[in-house]
């Protein structure tokens, strides 16, 4: 691969959006080409710069009030027979899906609890017990509170900013919740000891959230976020490799 071929792909490579063959070609090119490797580092740098600041505009407005205003607009709920029929059908379908989805195994039930936990952590504004972006503050904070010591890697270079930690309960056991942020997307990572066999990572889609869970060396991990699946996958990989 030449520089002319590699350069337009660098940005997509950073986003994990290239297919395997192109990714390997770009990676190979980067090991041999200082100029392109430098450009790639610049892209990584830009990502971490953007991730390090809070660019959310919604602080300047009141989203709840906005939502109320929208609901009050008559057009939204203007009676339309087919809409009503559609809504009824959708509600029935949802009810069926809900009932069915509640039935199967313990995994599924736990997954839902995990996602509920994630939503709750965002709702009650009790995201962190120990707010800190310093892993050397967060990790020791758990000492004496848990029967294991959670791994808290610094991933800020990769665009995942550490927000803090929280004590939580997962599947009836005490768990460490480590919170990271990628722009406006909060990631809750729960770590709890006492898992059985190792399990490879599994990604699930629940209520618009992505859940990634795995078990390794007697420890269970759950990562939940509304971040896209690919990036949550990358996040999980980084946690596993540190």
């Amino acid at each position: 691969m030449t520089c002319e071929e590699a350069e337009p792909l660098l940005s997509a490579c950073l986003d994990c959006e290239l297919d395997l063959i192109h990714t390997l070609k770009v990676e190979k090119h980067l090991t041999g080409c200082d100029a392109c490797a430098g450009k790639y580092r610049k892209l990584e740098w830009l990502r971490s710069e953007i991730a390090a600041v809070d660019l959310d505009w919604s602080a300047e407005t009141d989203l709840r009030a906005m939502r109320k205003k929208i609901v009050r607009r008559p057009t939204v709920w203007r009676s339309r027979p087919y809409l009503t029929a559609l809504a009824t059908a959708a509600a029935m379908l949802l009810a069926v899906v809900f009932v069915r989805s509640r039935l199967p195994g313990a995994d599924d039930y736990l997954d839902r609890q995990v996602v509920d936990n994630h939503v709750r952590s965002l709702l009650v504004e009790h995201l962190v017990d120990v707010p800190s972006s310093d892993r050397h503050t967060v990790k020791p904070w758990f000492q004496g509170k848990l029967d294991f010591s959670p791994n808290v890697p610094d991933l800020s270079k990769e665009g995942f900013v550490l927000i803090g930690g929280r004590l939580d309960v997962m599947a009836g056991r005490q768990a460490a919740a480590i919170i990271y942020k990628r722009q406006n997307h909060v990631i809750n990572l729960w770590i709890s000891s006492g898992a059985g066999q190792d399990r490879a990572p599994e990604l699930r889609d629940l209520n618009g959230f992505h859940l990634l869970r795995w078990q390794s060396r007697g420890v269970s991990y759950w990562a939940v976020s509304d971040l896209n699946a690919a990036e949550l996958g990358v996040f999980g990989e980084m946690i596993r490799s540190r």
């Binding site: 997509a12 830009l46 919604s58 929208i70 559609l86 896209n228």
Partner: protein, 162 residues
């Protein structure tokens, strides 16, 4: 359900139209449209669909207002810091944020929207392509361009420090 996306689409509108008041109008209009046309929605991804509505409404809005609103330009500039500037680190963070914000705002519209959807809304290329109604390759090249422009703007060493 569309409400969970309210924050995201507000942000998109805010980046595209450039001030809070207009962004709010755009979001309200978009939600009304979304509910009105919900029965015509055939796709599988309501999120991209809603973002596409907000994006189109924003573009219409910009076109409509361009001749008359120019005067009110200074109203929302500069953005006041929304936290009390306590620690110095906070201040540095806020000014860096403003630098990054204004660099993104100065991007040409088609680069800005792609970058915001990717870097701030965390969308996959496929979703961005659906929102912008362009092929994947276009998403890829616009993002690549947007990032080179931002690096040129923000990097300390090149083109004088900012």
């Amino acid at each position: 359900m569309l409400w969970p996306h309210l924050r995201g689409v507000y942000n998109l509108a805010r980046w595209l139209v450039g001030n809070a008041e207009d962004a709010e109008d755009v979001v309200q209009e978009s939600f009304v449209k979304a509910y009105q046309y919900a029965d015509q929605f055939r796709g599988s991804d309501p999120r991209s669909w809603l973002y596409a509505i907000v994006r189109n409404t924003s573009l219409n809005f910009i076109q409509r207002r361009r001749p008359k609103h120019e005067v009110e330009w200074n109203e929302d500039l500069p953005e006041p810091a929304d936290r009390t500037p306590g620690a110095e680190a906070d201040l540095i963070q806020v000014t860096r944020r403003d630098q990054i914000r204004s660099a993104i705002v100065r991007l040409p519209g088609e680069f800005r929207e792609a970058l915001v959807l990717r870097e701030i809304e965390g969308m996959a290329y496929k979703e961005i392509a659906a929102v912008l109604n362009v092929p994947l390759g276009t998403v890829m090249s616009r993002l690549s361009r947007a990032r080179s422009l931002l690096i040129r703007e923000l990097a300390p060493e090149k083109g004088g420090s900012r």
